[in-house]
Symmetry: C2
Subunit: 166 residues, 2 copies
DNA sequence: CTTGGAAAGTCAACAAGGCTGACGTAAATT
DNA sequence: AATTTACGTCAGCCTTGTTGACTTTCCAAG
């Protein structure tokens, strides 16, 4: 493993050692990433799966069940269990599709938005602290690497969510 | 929410919108991050929990059970279930501690190292592709943000693993 | 207008991998 | 000698994922 340079650009950042560091950073950081919402959810009847559903319904109001399945990457049986409790508890509303009545358009109720706010406030607070500590250039790199790490399918999901912005 | 600048430095990277993007990037990227090892493990009797144990035993040969508990952040009952199958199947060896005989020093057997290699090769391959695509500056930022995102305890674990390097 | 198939929902059964609580043993420490 | 520590284990529970089979609804093409 010669520590070579190519046109003056060091490739030291591609050593197995550096890659392992990145892998462990992902592992430990993801724990922090989920810690705050998990803390809020514990005690309620909900878990991380509910958080994810709530997040993406909030993000794309009116989304259908099958669209959500694609984003979350779970089976409909698994999602259905989560969605059912959220609907029963009045956090999510499933409106019969207007053009296609087989579809259910999912929306957060006021109560659902309250919980969403609570969860995302906590998660954003940590993210904001990390961003602030790292600075804008680091944040740019962070996003670039994460995007490159996604499966192509996931990247499409990620980017298509991006398009809906104004 | 005025889009202010402070001393010429834009704070636009701290908007809720940017933070949400980062949150979703973490979600989708983590899926990619675990996808390859998961694929290898499925079909074997092992799962992500086994992968984590194998990874950190490989990383710190001779580590004790309680040290591993601290790193993984699970209960001893949960870890024990995983560890027991790995020991039974001859992937991990638990040697009685030399100075303190209550401790068990954990090591990978040749068979365990084979699997570790297989898993980490797959995970590193993705990481390497992402790093290469993003470039060294982005990688630097990536690591900086992830580190800032960790809980202080996790950051100590992360950094103390760093110290053992040569 | 009928029919094929997609979308959604549901039931049942199961597995992985978390958790708590209780208990036992050996070894180290006080 | 008593207590604490490290580890292992039994039992039971929960969340969240999986398959497989089946029904209902309803769009769209023949």
């Amino acid at each position: 493993m010669a520590e070579s340079t190519t046109g003056g650009e060091s490739l030291l950042f591609l050593t197995d050692e550096q890659l392992r560091k990145g892998i462990e950073a992902m592992f430990f950081a993801y724990r922090g990433f989920t810690a705050d919402p998990d803390r809020i959810l514990e005690g309620m009847d909900y878990g991380r799966a509910h958080h994810r559903a709530i997040h993406f319904i909030h993000r794309s109001p009116g989304t259908t069940v099958s669209n959500l399945l694609g984003i979350l990457g779970v089976t409909k049986q698994s999602l259905n269990r989560v969605l059912r409790t959220l609907i029963e508890d009045g956090l999510v509303e499933a409106r019969v599709g207007k053009s296609d009545k087989r579809e259910r358009n999912l929306h957060l109720t006021a109560k659902g938005q309250d919980l969403e706010r609570q969860l995302s406030d906590a998660q954003r607070a940590r993210m904001r602290a990390a961003y602030r500590a790292a600075g804008p250039a680091a944040v740019q790199g962070f996003r670039t690497v994460l995007e490159a790490m996604m499966d192509p399918e996931m990247r499409r999901q990620y980017q298509s969510l991006r398009e809906g912005e104004r």
